[in-house]
Symmetry: C2
Subunit: 281 residues, 2 copies
């Protein structure tokens, strides 16, 4: 089976790493950045590098692992040109915009909208990790618009990386991700900005970077090139989530300013119940 | 050497774990909660349990590891009653309020204001961790108000746990900690509240709890009984930090609402520079 991976960063590269040693799989890499191509070969993320148009004609499966606005732009023309047996999937963190872009495409059923839920704060081919997807969820959206064959192939590929497949509407996906993933990133980016604003004495940031700060600020290291398009493409859900987050912070600040200990304890006790919910995992 | 630890939770218990196996050290535990005393003995965090007044008369060093308002209340009466050779230290996350409470105490020089920078989101004796302090910083405040002997003893004890001692004014400590630690906790508690508000379908929180969310929300599991007094005792610095955090979030929200990609990229690129600073560690 020939699998073309378009975009050889953390996400695409880690998929490559999980596929290259599988029997009967040939992994072809595509990336606009020649340095990323060289790195991907050197790190063994893919077997070989090709141009996009060659892969589109030749692959059994094409995996789009580029920023979400790039996927939205590129996907229709890829579906225009695929061979009879080619299936296309993507790994973008937003799904409604991408599904809308190909809603009426004659080859829509050859496309499967996916989002494997895994990542780190690092980026580029050198950030690719063996086992990144193992034990994680892959969300498939608008399953009813894809052919059974296409769905089966994509599920098999993600299962071979150790993932469990799950299903959701594109809108439900984007709404949930706004709260659980995208808002986390904004809260972390902004925590970094706030601390940088004040702690002009940079050595003190390091001195005081106890484990608490390190984990809440971890996502602030993430790539702006990846995240700006995600935030933009999911801006309605995300703006709502961010507005509610700000309201809740104001509530906390008001309890603090009034030195209302009962109110702040009540907020924290409510927040504690995330324990019970995360434990289900 | 007899060391009394008052408060056998995560922090006091972990200090006990680091001391009980040292030669010629006898670790005495004190806790108002009889169940914590039993657990501390069973888990080997201390050699024996005593009443506070016995320890005050008898110990070479007393370590106060209770919530910061409790330390502020208890410390003056402990200094009233210590023996000639007893030194007292504390491990509270705020320092100005505690230092102020004993500013004019005749035994002020027998007290050393400390803050070992380490912890987890868990609490109670069963959360005590071997090696929790290893390689971390201990901040000593108002060093000039303690006797050389008292400082030397406290430094030796924290060094024996693998810590590096550092020095700061109480006000500088509280201001830095407001930004780096206390604000992180509020951002995490509030992220949990916001996600809980929306994600009424609790299964989805677990499904979508990718690694990003898990790390930013980790501190939301922390104990309200520990953190409410910290926030209250540091409310001036913390309210300022929280106000600036809210302003920066509004700035992010405005970039999002206007779909101003350049502005959001600029914010993220600035936030990224936390990488460079954390790397110093």
């Amino acid at each position: 089976m020939k699998i073309g991976i378009v975009g050889l960063g953390l996400i695409g590269g880690s998929i490559g790493l999980g596929l290259v040693r599988q029997l009967n799989v040939k992994v072809i890499g595509v990336d606009q950045n020649p340095q990323h191509c060289d790195e991907a070969i050197r790190l063994g993320l893919v077997h070989e590098i090709m141009q996009l148009d060659e892969v589109v004609r030749d692959a059994d499966l094409i995996v789009l692992a580029i920023p979400v606005d790039g996927i939205e732009q590129l996907l229709p023309s890829i579906l225009d040109n695929i061979s009879d047996r080619t299936v296309v999937t993507d790994v973008g963190s937003t799904k409604a915009n991408i599904c809308t872009a190909v809603k009426n495409h004659p080859n829509r059923e050859r496309y499967v909208a996916s989002h494997p839920l895994a990542g780190t704060e690092f980026s580029g081919p050198s950030a690719a990790l063996e086992g990144l997807y193992n034990g994680k969820k892959n969300i498939i959206c608008e399953m009813e618009r894809s052919s059974k064959e296409a769905i089966d192939l994509v599920k098999r590929v993600f299962s071979s990386l150790g993932m469990v497949n799950d299903y959701m509407t594109a809108d439900a996906h984007d709404r949930h991700l706004a709260y659980v993933s995208h808002l986390s990133h904004i809260s972390s980016f902004t925590l970094s900005l706030t601390v940088l604003d004040i702690e002009k004495d940079e050595d003190q940031i390091f001195n005081l970077a106890s484990t608490g700060f390190a984990s809440t600020v971890r996502l602030a290291k993430s790539s702006p090139q990846t995240w700006a398009p995600i935030f933009s493409k999911n801006k309605d859900h995300l703006s709502k989530a961010l507005g509610q987050y700000i309201d809740r912070l104001q509530e906390f600040k008001s309890a603090l300013d009034k030195d209302n200990r009962n109110a702040s304890v009540a907020l924290m006790e409510e927040a504690n119940s995330i324990k019970r919910i995360l434990k289900k995992g």
